[in-house]
Amino acid sequence: MKTLGKWLFLGLVVMSMPARAALDIVITEGVDAARPIAVIPFVWQGQGPMPQQISDVVMSDLARSGTFKPLDELSLPQTNISKVSQFVAKDWSNVGAEAVVMGSVKPYGDDQYLVKFELVDLVKAQMQSNAGPQSSNEYLLDSRETVVSLAQFRQYGHRISDIVYEKLTGTRGAFLTRIAYVVVKHGEKSPYHLMISDYDGHNEKMLLRSPEPLMSPSWSPDGSKLAYVSFENKKAEVFIQNIYTQSRAKITSYDGINGAPVFSPDGKKLALTLSKDGQPEIYVVDIETKALKRVTNHYAIDTEASWFKDGKSLIFTSERGGRPQIYKVTLSSGKVERLTFEGEWNLGGSVSPDGRSMIFVNRTNGKFNIARMDLETRFMQVLTSTRLDESPSVAPNGTMVIYGTTYQGKQVLAAVSTDGRFKARLPAGQGEVKSPSWSPFL
């Protein structure tokens, strides 16, 4: 009995170790508020076992969105169906979910698979089933098919999740996106790693490893390049690296700080912080010509620029009021306006994709947490309750924020929905994980 217990324990330990994902998401809050949805395991129409279950990707995407709660497979009245024509509405009359996702995977030549899926409006189906038999196509919300290779299974799973999410919420899904982040493995000869992975931590790849710090990765608007800061030459310098070709270009290497680079919405310029003229100031540099335009001019610290989507103004952190607060500057006029007044500090802001709010780090009673402020009403809401929160980055659909925090004495990444209701942690496999940056739509 004792040995059995030991083996069970060992089994659990082994199972709980992250198998493929370097960052394994743990949902810490907000599952109750989510909307139930049924995802039927996709039907395999080939010989032998299915190489990989695409619907698993869809299920975890929907659960991680915080908006949906996929039902347990065992509670579904019908499985092993892949088309709405096989769907028996009256069997589903007691299922409390708003939609059903089903599909199939069929071999289609050498390393090619035909993947089909259908999205059924369950509420409509239940109502019509009460009214008598109807054509099942009446409640078909979407139906698509495509041919993919095995390596594209996860990617297509995210694509399905994007479609389901958009059909049911009206907001574009951000599942087919990536994150960039820095991993520090203290004690190694080259401890600083610049990494990218899918938004869910899968397909982690190293872009750069250095004996000196790497900071502030930030995506180009087309998702093909990253701007970041590297201390490889014992000083701060801003680089742009193409994530496909690995080519790197040094953009600025002035005396003092070269920091916090962010691409302009048209991808042609970087807003960044330089201290070459004394104090840290915001500049805009033309990537092609390297021509500089100074944006701020104040003896206090100015840093952490973020663009409005129209490219005409920036928000930035400034200490000009005595403590770090967030300001807005109009590029054409240089006019500066203070945006934050609540709390001791507000810093590290970024404008949400719809331009209506901003996400930033707020310090209240000495605690650093992620907050959101409506730019119109100036209403501020603290979203997180984790420790030493920093580096918030908003998903391209504006629903979720990824940020750096501290958990059990280690730097880890965490996510919170922009309404603050859903919270998740992405525990690190090895080392300290920080400075996350969410890619644009891919």
Partner: protein, 180 residues
């Protein structure tokens, strides 16, 4: 047998040496002279059974100052208060020692690293670290150290000395480091 004794003696002596090497606080001046005199009186010659004695050399005030600064210069780190970048009085003497040395040796260059604790954002902490490094540079320049002898780099919160993320850990990480 004799080797064994020697080995035992070394076991005691080595940590002692290490301890005396570590003491670099302001009262180490007296420590240094007293340990010198004790080693002088302690030498026992193997043959003839005679023992020698001696006293510490008499130092001029200038020499005393030189030795004191030599000791102070072993300290390369200046610590700062939270969100502050002013050099506190307790570290002024350490900087004075480094300043004197740099003035006497105009060919020597020093790199001043600025660091911050892990609170706030990495980008803001880079700015804060630079301000600390600059405060040290300004202090030294005020003494007469040439700007060309000094260079500055801020690592912000990227190179913490203490990773416990406690108040004590934060205090250790808020620092400027002089690297020759």
């Amino acid at each position: 047998m004799d080797l064994n004794k020697l080995f035992k003696a070394m076991l005691v002596a080595i940590p002692m040496m290490a301890i005396s090497a570590c003491s670099s606080t302001s009262d180490s001046e007296t420590d240094a002279t007293s340990s010198n005199s004790s080693t002088n009186s302690g030498s026992e010659l193997a043959t003839g059974g005679v023992e020698t004695g001696g006293v510490a050399p008499v130092l001029t005030p200038a020499e005393q100052q030189r030795i004191k600064y030599q000791e102070l210069r072993k300290e390369h780190i200046i610590y700062f208060d939270f969100d502050r970048s002013s050099v506190s009085a307790q570290f002024a003497e350490v900087l004075q020692a480094h300043g004197e040395y740099l003035i006497e040796h105009p060919n020597v260059r020093v790199m001043i690293e600025g660091h911050a604790d892990e609170r706030g954002t990495p980008e803001y902490n880079i700015a804060l670290g630079e301000r600390r490094a600059k405060a040290v540079a300004k202090f030294l320049q005020g003494m007469g150290v040439l700007p060309s002898q000094m260079s500055i780099v801020s690592y912000g919160e990227e190179k913490p000395l203490d990773m416990t993320r406690t108040d004590d850990g934060f205090a250790v990480n808020r620092r400027a480091v002089l690297v020759y």
